[in-house]
């Protein structure tokens, strides 16, 4: 048993706000209410802050696209943080596309213990799981790319909703994934013909009936009816386009009555008509968002500096390549999805980047319910996940934020609302947007809190900022499943992370329907399509509750 004593505990899910109390973690790695028996390890957390481990609701840490990016940017790896191998730890490279082992060390080293990989094609799900196998310490879940899956689009075109639902259920189980991701619905399928889906209500390229709006609505309904723990995770159409506020708010209105999670909302909250007139649309988006209690979101904030943009949104990436002249990786995955990669630098002298920086913070500050908005950078699209503490400082210290705003180009200031916002995050709110909230959105009941039965994932920070005024970069202790994994800034032990997946109910006859179509459209045999359970290290199936 591990006993954490004397720390100020922040457990917002259980209404605990900075109370000094002891936390006990039993031999089963879970939090227990009372310490019975003697503690094998007592951690003196006097004068420290005790939080549930961080939960990243949207990140890209494993899979074919990320691995493509690693190969594409050796110049980034060369200047990135190095991990030297020791008898216990594997060598690796940090940076924007960290190696798998380094990814586990970096997340745990920052105090995060659960991550959600947000883009898995079924065809290469085996590969994603192989990489996850090599990400130590943290628990992982994955989202399956469905909104451009042509088997499903063909069924929706034919009006066969029930069959489409079974197909999605089967695909989830076949790929051993946890939830559904929709990326630029219809747009990636159109990209297979070099086109995009900018209009929500026009039939998408190659189809006569199906629209982006229908894909969004049907997938949200499928996720609800299958009872997935995490609702549809939506990367909307028109990402990054000035003036996309309109389609963002329209999408929210469409989703009335359905659960949905809106990914990296910052990239979907721009006003204006083009790059010259672009302005923040965060106010409108935040206002609309707050009135839709059925929705959650993560911000996908950007930070000035290097980034690598990686997304299934192929057409956007082609545009970004033409815009920047930077190198471009593109990988279309047969019948399912695509992916594009473009390295990018967010420059604080550039008007557009300055607005993007402000929009991310504005959303986090203007949306008044921290339980529905979560901290992400859409790693590595807006910046590396290991820079989260920089954003926390901007949220928690208004003087510091105002000083940073002053460094923006003057012409940006009348296009953003950040200078007028005085809100500061409390410690409790910070715990909600980084842990309690995302855990709830993911439907992981044992995560994001420290009540009895919760996973023994605890992060303990110093209560005072370091010499540079920064907090939360280096926790004093990180405990994962009752094991002390980080201590004195060192990885001390490797906990074995679990992989969460779902096994929703679906009509088994769907397999006989898929098989002949599959043999016609794909290039491998049907038996080789599903991911074997044996590829997953410590799998844990989370139950579905159809609604």
């Amino acid at each position: 048993m591990v006993k954490i004593t004397g720390g100020r505990v922040y457990d917002p899910a259980n209404g605990v706000d900075g109370v000094v109390k002891d936390i006990y973690i039993g031999e089963d790695g879970r939090v227990t209410a009372e310490g019975n028996g003697s503690a094998s390890r007592t951690i003196d957390a006097n004068g420290m802050l005790v939080f549930p481990g961080g939960v990243d609701v949207h990140t890209h840490v494993a899979g074919g696209a990320l691995n493509f990016a690693r190969g594409l940017v050796p110049e980034n790896q060369r200047v990135a943080q190095k991990f030297i191998h020791t008898p216990e730890l594997r060598a690796g490279i940090g940076g924007l596309t960290p190696t798998t082992f380094a990814t586990g060390y970096l997340y745990a080293g920052m105090g995060w213990t659960t991550v959600n990989e947000a883009a898995v094609p079924i065809l290469s799900a085996k590969h994603t799981h192989e990489e996850m196998h090599d990400i130590p310490i943290v628990d992982k879940s994955t989202l399956l790319l469905m909104a451009n899956n042509e088997l499903m689009l063909d069924l929706l075109e034919a009006g066969e909703f029930e069959r489409a639902k079974s197909l999605v259920g089967w695909m989830l189980w076949a790929s051993k994934t946890f939830g559904i991701k929709a990326v630029n619905p219809g747009g990636v399928a159109a990209w297979k013909w070099g086109k995009n889906a900018n209009q929500l209500h026009q039939p998408i390229e190659g189809y006569s009936k199906v629209t982006a709006a229908q894909i969004v609505m049907d997938l949200a309904r499928i996720c609800d009816e299958l009872g997935l723990p995490h609702p549809m995770h939506l990367h909307q159409n028109n990402l990054g386009v000035p003036g996309n506020v309109g389609s963002t708010i329209e999408t929210m209105n469409m989703l009335q009555g359905r659960r949905a999670h809106l990914a990296h909302l910052q990239f979907h909250a721009y006003g204006g008509h083009d790059w010259n007139t672009m302005r923040s649309g965060a106010k409108e988006v935040a206002e609309a968002f707050m009135s839709h209690k059925n929705l959650t979101c993560d911000v996908g904030a950007i930070l000035f500096g290097d980034a690598v943009t990686i997304t299934a949104d192929g057409p956007w990436q082609h545009f970004l390549h033409e815009l920047t002249g930077r190198k471009w990786g593109n990988l279309d995955v047969e019948n399912e999805t695509g992916c594009g990669i473009v390295p990018y630098v967010y420059n604080n002298h550039k008007l557009v980047n300055a607005i993007q920086w402000a929009v991310g913070l504005e959303l986090l500050l203007l949306i008044d319910d921290p339980w529905r908005v979560y901290l992400t950078t859409d790693h590595p699209n807006g910046g590396g996940f290991w820079r989260y503490p920089e954003i926390l400082r901007l949220l928690m210290d208004v003087e510091f934020r105002k000083a940073e705003v002053k460094k923006l180009p003057p012409e940006a200031l009348n296009r953003i609302s950040l200078p007028e916002i005085d809100r500061e995050y409390s410690i409790s709110e910070m715990v909600i947007v980084t842990s309690a909230g995302p855990a709830r959105a993911l439907g992981l009941k044992q995560k994001g809190h420290l009540g009895a039965g919760a996973d023994g994932d605890v992060t303990i920070y110093s209560a005072t900022p370091d010499a540079d005024g920064v907090m939360f970069t280096h926790p004093r202790y990180v405990i994962k499943g009752g094991k002390v994994v980080v201590e004195e800034g060192q990885i001390r032990a490797l906990a074995e992370g679990r992989v969460f997946l779902v096994h929703p109910e679906f009509d088994p006859a769907i397999e006989d329907f898929i098989r002949p179509t599959f043999q016609k459209l794909y290039t491998l045999s049907f038996e080789n399509y599903p991911t074997e359970m044996t590829r997953l290290k410590h799998p844990e199936t989370v139950g579905c509750v159809p609604q």
């Binding site: 790896q77 030297i84 060598a91 490279i93 190696t99 192989e130 990786g329 990988l331 019948n335 290039t523």
Partner: protein, 316 residues
């Protein structure tokens, strides 16, 4: 510039109406490529199969693959980069010097016709082989092709793909990337991965004689590498894991005979488009698998005292 614009093979099967093979001879080197993935297949959007697709070969001689093509372009050896550059110029309507173009071995009209056909394609693909990547110009030739495919997307859908071979070489590349961040030519001697092709690539290490020992897995450098590299393999301890006798196994200090992956040993192989396929062995082998032997070697090495020097404080 740079990058790679590609797709999985099923995209080619379902959509490609225009296929270029450049510097490769799939009819003999990838014999299932035509029938399984490219020209012979009936695809979702290419219902006529072979009749619905145009196939072009670009090579320095008339290969058996060229005989399957609609248009077989023969160019002069070592002129791939020049052809690539000319295509990029014409694609964008830039002027070219006709006399210089003639050195490629094709008429300007032929190249212009090729560009027009590329632009008319609904979905074009360029497969490029070692005739391009391993001849004069090497990676510059590959970069040229990758750029053609990328830039063609301003006009129509276009992708490209290297014709990789030699068993699971793509798999090795993929695993190295997620474990070290780099695809090949990785040096771990400082305790963290460093990458510098031309310095840390196998052939360079062997030719310079930098390494003390060599472990060869599923490859036959003794058959393909330059003589100084082979001499170094002979001179130093070389360990080979291979199901059969090879040029390298003959000069090695130790040869472990292994089960044949995919036949009598399981595992995962990556296709040239980086899609993983589960291998299910149909036969049993009296020999151990590569994985078992490597694990035994790792365990034996782990039993030895650590090679690291002791921290200074602990030194006598």
């Amino acid at each position: 510039m740079g990058g790679k614009v590609t797709c999985t093979l099923g995209e080619v099967k379902n959509r490609a109406d225009f296929i270029i093979y450049w510097g490769g001879n799939p009819a003999e080197c990838h014999p299932r490529h035509f029938t399984k993935y490219t020209i012979m297949q009936k695809g979702k959007f290419v219902p006529l199969g072979r009749k619905g697709r145009t196939m072009i070969t670009i090579d320095i001689r008339e290969t058996p693959s060229a005989r399957a093509a609609d248009i077989a372009l023969i160019i002069k050896p070592g002129k791939d980069f020049e052809l690539g550059t000319t295509l990029r110029a014409l694609m964008k309507g830039q002027p070219v010097d006709e006399a210089r173009v003639a050195e490629i071995g094709l008429s300007l009209d032929t190249i212009k016709d090729l560009v027009e056909r590329m632009k008319r394609a609904k979905f074009g693909v360029i497969f490029f082989g070692m005739g391009l990547s391993m001849t004069r110009g090497k990676h510059m030739n590959s970069a040229g092709i990758l750029n053609i495919a990328a830039e063609m997307n301003a006009f129509t859908k276009f992708v490209c793909m290297p014709m990789r071979g030699h068993g699971n070489v793509t798999g090795a590349d993929v695993v190295l990337r997620w474990t070290t961040g780099y695809p090949f030519g990785v040096n771990l001697s400082r305790g963290y991965p460093r990458f510098n092709p031309g310095e840390f690539s196998t052939v360079d290490l062997l030719v310079r004689g930098d390494n003390d020992a060599t472990l060869v897995l599923g490859a036959d450098p003794g058959a393909t590498m330059p003589q100084p590299a082979i001499d170094h393999l002979k001179k130093t301890p070389t360990i080979v894991l291979d199901p059969k006798v090879t040029h390298t196994s003959k000069l090695a200090r130790v040869h472990f005979t292994t089960a044949v992956t995919g036949v009598s040993a399981g595992g995962t192989a990556y296709r040239m488009d980086e899609i993983p396929i589960t291998l299910r062995p149909g036969l049993k082998s009296p020999y151990r698998t590569d994985e078992e032997i490597v694990n035994l070697i790792i365990a034996a090495v782990a039993r030895k005292p650590a090679w690291r020097p002791a921290p200074i404080a602990q030194r006598a």
